[in-house]
Amino acid sequence: MEHLPVASILVFLPLAGALLLVPVWKQPELARWFALGTALLELALVGYLFSAMPATAGTATPLPGYFLWEDLPWIGRIGIRYTLGMDGITLLLGFLTAFVTVVAMLVSWRAIGERVAFHYFLLLVMESGIMGVFLALDLFLFYLFWEVMLVPMFFLIGIWGHGRRIYSAVKFFLFTLFGSLLMLLAIIGVYLIHGSQTGSYTFALSALTTTRIAPGVACWLFAAFLLAFAIKVPLIPLHTWLPDAHTDAPTAGSVVLAGLLLKTGAYGLIRFAYPLFPEAARMFTPVLLAAAVIGIIYGSWLAYAQTDMKRLVAYSSVGHMGFVALGIAAWTPVSLSGSVLQMVNHGITTGALFALVGMLDERTGTREIGAFGGLWGKVPLFAAFFLLFSMASAGLPGLNNFAGEFLILAGSFRVFALPAVLAIIGIVLPLVYTVRLVQEVLFVTERHCLVQSDLSRREGGVLGVLAIIAVYLGVHPAPLLAILKVPVALLTAGAGGMP
């Protein structure tokens, strides 16, 4: 394995799989299996890396903490390089990417009836794009993947979506692009400042983090990065694309959006925005804290008001991602580990919830909470999973979200007591809407139950694996935290520790 360009394979294997779908374009069944095979292969590769990681971390790579590293000149004249690397943080997020893609494929196995190959083609292209975002360590390369991953999602929402699918798809695209293009200007700005200081023009992250930037300029540049990433996370008040996109997307699209795309925003903050502009980030900390706390409370509040289950889950994402942002804003080792862990947790639980809602939608054609009732008696298997993931999402101790939220609160309380205390409200609020949701859908028996069939073996299997991971991460997150320890320590040490 040492001589294989593993990082490149991780990024381009799904793309290659997508291109190989072209010959079977007209054979939906083959296309499904082919795509699933590719995604499983990718998952196996990431799984293998878990075992290879501790052995080689930091020994064979130019940067500490990284255990995969590839660096080739690409557009030499202007200093653009093809640099991919993987450390503990991206190992977890890469695993999440590969896993959630498999989940997204399986939950849309029967729901997508037309243009099947195109659907799986897009899912695989998106997996490539997201992997690229997580692995790229050259700002230009990162930006390229960052925009590339928008396109498949735009098509997924616009072609197979529900309701106002085209409106939502275009809104999603424009919102994200607006932030991204300003970030592009900021990237160019850092590149030129670094080049004029040192004489070597480069987009390499490791070089650009050493740039000394005048505080006034740095604030503007950081603001552009923050805008791009905050739209993606999303932070209040830049979240308005999210409920539309999540609600109108097909199930696979919602799963990938919530499970992966939102994570790229938080990841961008951790990997790029903070290390590039530590001083400016410190100045913006109150802004980020406020946005995070308001997001936690306001997102939950809005979730409570929803009658469409998909919208409810979408707004709950706003709240959960607020926690992630809080952990990033505090920038302590504990809170940052919590944030990364919470990104994985949120990907698992929210992905599962979107899958569950999608299954209801597939069976009945509606997602209104009021249309369901008494599922506990009718479809016990479904109800059990629904209860489990709802509780996990609400942060019940022993399930995965609790571990992440606890770490974030513990880590940020020491440095920012008030926001952390306010965020605790955000632990209670999800319980309110979740209990209401569970009660109405599962236990109210007066209403006529539309759902007739319980989970199929495929659905049960997917949810079963998700449940095992949710419980495992809730009970025993230590192995993951061990993986995160070194990279998080390196990140927080570089900033000199936040006040």
């Binding site: 925009e147 735009f154 695209f173 700005g189």
Partner: protein, 469 residues
């Protein structure tokens, strides 16, 4: 003129002779071979150009095959070659017969080649007008459609005014500096331009004249009408090579002047107005060709932005964007041409569901739209990236931010095309025409260039580095 001098401008001579040969060929053996003969001459001129070592030796013709001229002559010849491939079956379906079409294309390329090779303001003017002269015919060539004639008339009137502006500009510059040699005239202009009203007026008239050709706001009004009326392959040529040669004209002059100098403020305003007006007006269009016309105005605004900072990498950025833009527009208008049966699919609604009923053309159109919108990994993204890098390096941060914001606006209308292609159900009525092999070849070439430049821009940037010296 000696034989040796003729050799130095041989590629241009091939183009000019080619135009005549195609015409004679049509008289001797009338038929449908004009395209093939014309294509051979274009390819021949391009190959000769590549084979001949560049030199700065000036002939008494006022021409020199500089690296700049070599690059652009090859580029224009190949563009015209693709346009011929796109035109052949289109013209057959639309009933545009005769060898005058390929002959005029060749003559037009000859004009472009002369323009890029000129070392003298007069030959520069002749090249520009030779090219425009060809387009007067081409725009109006579809006599069965009244719109084509109307577009031709509009283009002729506007072109005549623009030519007058350019000629007066050249006359005033000559009056001011006493030479027609581009290098000397432009150096004198930048050296003593500020205090010399005659020179300033001359430069202003020149810029106004060329702004018509580039269709920069406020000299853009002809563009939507001409794009809408002219046949699609002609628009493909007009919007790429003619814009490209107008930009080459400006590059030649501004590079010789060593920067935008006193023209900075006017070009700044032209760029700003074009980016804003073009991209906002495109939002309102329901006709694809009109929409692309306004999009072209916006895109030219970006190139104008690069021209302001020509000394800080703007030269390379503008030249790169010309190539990228040519590939993107050839693809977009090529798809329109290849879908034309009895009539051109004009309204955006005509493209509903085409991504499925005509997967290849739909895919190329979608790629062209994403490229024009500046989404990676396409040539459009890299081109915009170079332009904005140059702009920030040159200190034009405000204009760069405005440019980026208008680019976000532009994405909306480009996406509307993609939405129609893939996300709206097709009408059950007649599906548009299916393309032919030459059209597929041309579209595939354009698409390949878009992707190749988007992923490996290195070779082209190195080539452009060579010509900017």
């Amino acid at each position: 003129m000696t034989t040796a001098e003729l050799w130095t401008v041989m590629p241009l001579a091939i183009l000019a002779c080619g135009a005549l040969v195609v015409l004679i060929f049509g008289a001797v053996a009338p038929g449908r071979h004009g395209t093939a003969v014309g294509a051979c001459f274009l390819l021949g001129a391009a190959l000769w150009c590549l084979h001949q070592p560049p030199s700065t030796a000036t002939s008494s013709l006022g021409l020199a095959l500089t690296p700049f001229a070599r690059f652009f002559t090859v580029f224009f010849s190949l563009t015209a070659l693709l346009v011929l491939l796109l035109s052949h079956d289109y013209n057959e379906r639309r009933g545009v017969a005769g060898e005058e079409y390929p002959a005029t294309i060749l003559f037009t390329v000859f004009g472009m080649g002369v323009l890029s090779a000129s070392v003298n303001l007069l030959t520069l003017f002749l090249g520009l007008e030779g090219m425009t002269f060809g387009f007067y015919f081409l725009v109006a060539i579809d006599r069965t459609r009244p719109e084509s004639g109307e577009a031709g008339m509009k283009y002729l009137l506007m072109g005549a005014v623009a030519a007058a502006f350019t000629a007066i500009g050249i006359a005033l510059v000559y009056a001011g500096v006493g030479t027609l040699e581009i290098g000397a005239a432009m150096k004198a202009l930048s050296a003593m331009g500020k205090g010399n009203p005659v020179l300033l007026a001359g430069a202003g008239f020149l810029l106004a004249g060329i702004a018509f050709k580039v269709s920069l706001v406020p000299a853009h009004l002809w563009t939507p009408d001409v794009y809408e009326g002219a046949p699609a392959p002609v628009v493909a040529f007009l919007s790429t090579a003619s814009k490209g040669s107008a930009v080459a004209f400006l590059l030649l002059l501004l590079a010789a002047a060593g920067g935008a100098g006193p023209l900075r403020t006017p070009i700044w305003m032209l760029s700003l107005l074009s980016m804003v007006t073009g991209n906002l007006a495109a939002l309102l269009q329901t006709n694809l060709k009109r929409m692309l016309a306004y999009s072209a105005i916006g895109q030219m605004g970006y190139i104008a932005l690069a021209l302001i900072v020509i000394g800080e990498g703007g030269f390379g950025a503008a030249a790169f964007y010309v190539v990228a833009y040519t590939a993107m527009n050839l693809a977009a208008f090529g798809v329109i041409a290849s879908l034309t049966g009895g009539s051109e699919p004009a309204a955006l609604e005509d493209y509903r569901g085409l991504g499925y009923s005509r997967p290849f053309q739909g895919g190329v159109m979608a790629l062209a739209m994403f490229a024009l919108a500046g989404i990676p990994p396409t040539a459009g993204f890299i081109g915009k990236f170079f332009i904005f890098t140059a702009a920030i390096r040159g200190g034009e941060v405000a204009l760069a931010v405005i440019g980026i914001l208008t680019a976000v606006v532009s994405v909306y209308y480009y996406l509307r095309v993609v939405v129609n292609l893939y996300m709206r159900p097709a009408d059950t009525g007649s599906a548009p025409a299916n393309g032919t092999v030459p059209e597929y070849v041309a579209l595939a070439c354009a698409a390949a260039v878009i992707l190749f430049l988007g992923i490996f821009p290195g070779p082209l940037t190195e080539l452009i580095d060579l010509i900017s010296r």
